[in-house]
């Protein structure tokens, strides 16, 4: 039912339950959330307070918990910081005003900046942001900014590590993506099979390493349409 190799071992040993919609919590992974890793790359676009706050938001959207690393370990905020100077430059102003608006609301209602709040208070404010309940955002409301950050956090956690997120492939391991392959066998598409987990960026393959996309390439803002809206071709 799950993906990382130690879970395979558990499954073979009969320790994991059969099919279920929501997984049992792994006992050996039940540990205290890790301290934030030291930032290894300098900021490219955001200010230090903006980056601190964005990391705090991303860490609540995809938390570090009993199910393993989250957006913090994936360095999703680093992905966003870098992309805001290039492909996502069109969203730079939305981040500036959105982070400021949320922080002001945190100070007004909780007496402290967002990054300094408890996780419970942060979750409460993010739920308000999601439900258009944080004041000061242009119509139709604060949910637009929430959805923007959520989509970019997913990209930064589950996208190719080349772009600065999904550090250590923690996002791909979380959802059980077996990795980028240049060819796939019939057996690797059968039910009950589990292709060997590969930790390779597309640009680790020599065929593509010479054609890396420019990091600062000014391309259009990507479509952040919700699930299903871009289906079909």
């Amino acid at each position: 039912m799950d993906y990382i190799s130690r879970r395979d071992l558990l499954k073979r040993a009969g320790a994991a339950s059969a099919v279920a919609a929501v997984p049992a919590v792994l006992t050996e992974a039940a540990q205290a959330p890790a301290a934030p890793p030291p930032r290894t790359e300098p900021l490219e676009t955001l200010s230090a307070p903006e980056a601190e706050m964005l990391e705090a938001i991303a860490a609540r959207l995809i938390p570090t918990d009993a199910n393993g690393p989250g957006a913090r370990e994936a360095r999703a905020a680093h992905y966003i910081d870098r992309a805001l100077g290039g492909a996502l430059a069109g969203s730079r102003e939305a981040y500036r005003s959105g982070l400021a608006g949320l922080d002001a609301h945190a100070r007004a209602t909780k007496g402290r900046g967002f990054a300094q709040l408890s996780e419970a208070d942060q979750d409460q404010l993010l739920a308000a942001l999601e439900q258009n309940a944080v004041p000061g955002f242009a119509a139709p409301g604060s949910a637009v900014f929430f959805n923007l950050v959520l989509n970019h956090t997913l990209q930064g956690t589950f996208g190719d590590p080349y772009y600065g997120g999904n550090h250590g492939f923690v996002g791909w391991d979380l959802v059980g993506y077996p990795g980028v392959r240049l060819a796939v066998t019939p057996d690797e598409q059968r039910l009950g099979q589990r292709p060997r987990q590969l930790h390779m960026s597309a640009y680790d393959y020599s065929m593509f390493s010479g054609r890396r996309p420019a990091r600062a390439d000014a391309t259009p803002e990507e479509d952040t349409a919700p699930h299903g809206a871009r289906h079909g071709d």
Partner: protein, 568 residues
């Protein structure tokens, strides 16, 4: 002042799906052809397996013309404008969107050519839904069959025939029109998941079959077979297994020595003389303006670009736009209802991380007029399609089926367990042209050169809504038969910019209601032709590309055989 180039027989505007096919029969007949393409050549090394770049960032490695000309949209003439997407559904390069399309290569059903007369015959004239401007095509399926066949062989289509000259084979689509022969290649292989879905369809008494794809199932014409690596949806093929015109018909036409490919050529207008004949096209390349004179002009952009180019090409002979003295350019526009999908959650991993959208299983029992509509209040139907294709960002963005919030620890637990346990069906449903739906030029929004972009005024109407409801229920039934523990229907949305656009320069015998004649040549400008889905008057329940390509070949074939008449 534009630099005037040497005259050519034919200038083709756009070397994508349609133009890229037409150049082959033209050059094989010995005509000199100049192909003007806004994009550039791309190589296999440009097609990295990169979900962010392919699916979220609008192909930054290609020329960005299309992304600067995204059409605007409003559902009706009195509605406010919809949010404008930043990324055009199509892209620019030699080969056009055949580089990154899904490559599903269906023929239309014979009914799709005769919607009006067949509906009248079977159910009565009152069953043509009100407000729709649908007409029968000027010819039937049999007329197009030889051209479908030629294209299937040239670009390489894999599939399982269901009807060869009337002999039915239940391994294929038993409802399809008769084919002259089998596909040039066997179908793409099945997967554990698609085999499971096929079994469920059989348990319902339906006839599942593998769909046709312009993707090699084995080595074909010196190109490799598919490697099923999972980056085909909006991704180029790094082994050239996808039969893009960039690796099939265009290089073959170049080998005749009669094709000149001009890349990064941005065509601005088609020129006409005082007698109303086309004289050539104006284009920009590298900041220089050129005029390419030609005996025949073939406009072969995407639907929005074809309509826009004609409307921008005003002249004393055509003050409302080229070939628009009957006011039909932009009319009878419609786009496929590909939304209104169904997603399903399964109680086991589907191992669907790899594959491609064309590697799937179809059910056609509820498409077109394959079932009795006597007791129903709509016409047409939908093709049901499920396939193996999943990438990690999209997987993490899955619906939680009401079982978890959208973020936080509960969400994380949910996607960790279920990222490989869901599927969304692809349901293509009959859409018909309607009197309230059309394309024109946006009065406000311009491209960076200052030319108006195309404006879409269109929404789904009553027949589309009823088809969607009916088809979604059938899909829920199929998923449940396969063991789904939850299903979820998505909304229909509206008719914004899409990969399945049709009409705007419709083909038909009546010049009062159609822009081009049965050969794809303008009723008003005898040496102007239009290629692409903009000439199609119905959509059927399946992807448009192969039909657009067969029509392009047919127009080119007619031009070559009647050159003296056409070129004047």
């Amino acid at each position: 002042m534009a630099t005037e180039l040497p005259r050519t027989n034919v200038v083709v505007v756009g070397l994508g799906a349609a133009g890229g096919v037409a150049v082959l029969p033209l050059t094989q007949a010995g005509l000199d052809v100049v192909g003007l393409e806004a994009g550039a050549w791309l190589a296999p090394a440009d097609f990295s397996p990169d979900e962010l770049r392919n699916n979220y960032r609008g192909w930054p490695q290609s020329v960005q013309k299309a992304n600067r000309e995204v059409p605007t949209h409003r559902p009706t003439a009195s509605a406010p404008a919809s949010p404008r997407p930043a990324i055009h559904p199509m892209m620019n390069a030699v080969g056009g969107t055949t580089l990154h399309y899904w490559a599903q290569s269906w023929r239309l059903h014979p009914w799709d050519f005769k919607v009006v007369s067949e509906t009248r015959r079977r159910y009565g004239a009152a069953r043509i839904p009100k407000g729709y401007t649908v007409e029968d095509w000027p010819f039937g399926y049999d007329e197009l069959e030889p051209y479908y066949d030629k294209v299937e062989v040239e670009i390489g289509v894999s599939g399982q025939a269901g009807n060869i000259r009337g002999t039915i084979d239940k391994r294929g689509n038993v409802f399809e029109g008769p084919r002259a022969r089998a596909y040039p290649m066997p179908p793409l292989r099945g997967t554990g998941f698609t085999d499971m879905m096929a079994g469920a369809a059989r348990s319902l008494g339906w006839n599942p079959f593998p769909g046709p794809a312009a993707v090699n199932s084995g080595r074909y014409q010196n190109r490799a077979g598919c490697v099923y690596h999972g980056f085909c949806a909006r991704g180029g093929c790094h082994v050239s297994a996808k039969g893009s015109t960039a690796v099939t018909t265009i290089p073959k036409a170049q080998r005749t020595k009669h094709l000149t490919v001009v890349t990064e050529a941005h065509v601005t207008t088609v020129a006409v003389n005082a007698q109303g004949r086309a004289t050539g096209v104006n284009y920009l390349k590298g900041g220089t303006e050129y005029f390419q004179p030609a005996d025949l002009v073939l406009v072969a952009g995407y639907v929005y670009e074809n309509v826009r180019l004609l409307l921008l090409s005003t002249s004393p002979a055509f003050p409302k736009g080229l070939s628009n003295n009957h006011g039909q350019v932009g009319r009878h526009y419609f786009s496929h209802n590909q939304q209104s999908t169904v997603s399903a959650l399964f109680p086991r991993d589907l191992n669907a991380w790899y594959g491609l959208p064309a590697q799937g299983v179809a059910v056609d029992e509820w498409a077109d007029d394959n079932f009795d509509h006597g007791g129903l209040d709509f016409i047409g139907g939908g093709n049901l399609w499920v396939y193996s294709d999943r990438r990690p960002i999209a997987a993490a963005g899955m619906s939680t089926f009401g079982r978890a919030p959208r973020w936080g620890s509960q969400w994380k637990a949910f996607v960790k367990a279920n990222a490989d346990r869901w599927n969304t069906a692809y349901l293509q449903k009959t859409t018909l042209p309607h009197e309230e739906n059309y394309l024109d030029l946006d009065p406000v929004v311009k491209d960076p050169l200052g030319f108006a972009v195309c404006r879409i005024t269109a929404d789904y109407k009553d027949n589309e809504r009823k088809v969607a409801t009916f088809i979604q229920d059938k899909m829920v039934e199929w998923f449940k038969a396969a063991g789904a523990i939850a299903t979820e229907k998505t909304g229909m949305g509206t008719m914004g910019p899409t990969t399945h656009a049709y009409g705007g320069t419709r083909m038909g015998d009546n010049p009062e209601t159609n822009v081009v004649n049965r050969w794809g040549l303008s009723h008003e400008v005898p040496n102007l032709g239009v290629l692409g889905a903009s000439v199609m008057g119905t959509s059927g329940s399946r992807n448009p590309t192969l039909t657009a390509q067969a029509l392009a070949w047919r127009t080119a074939d007619y031009v070559a055989k009647n050159w003296k008449t056409v070129a004047g």
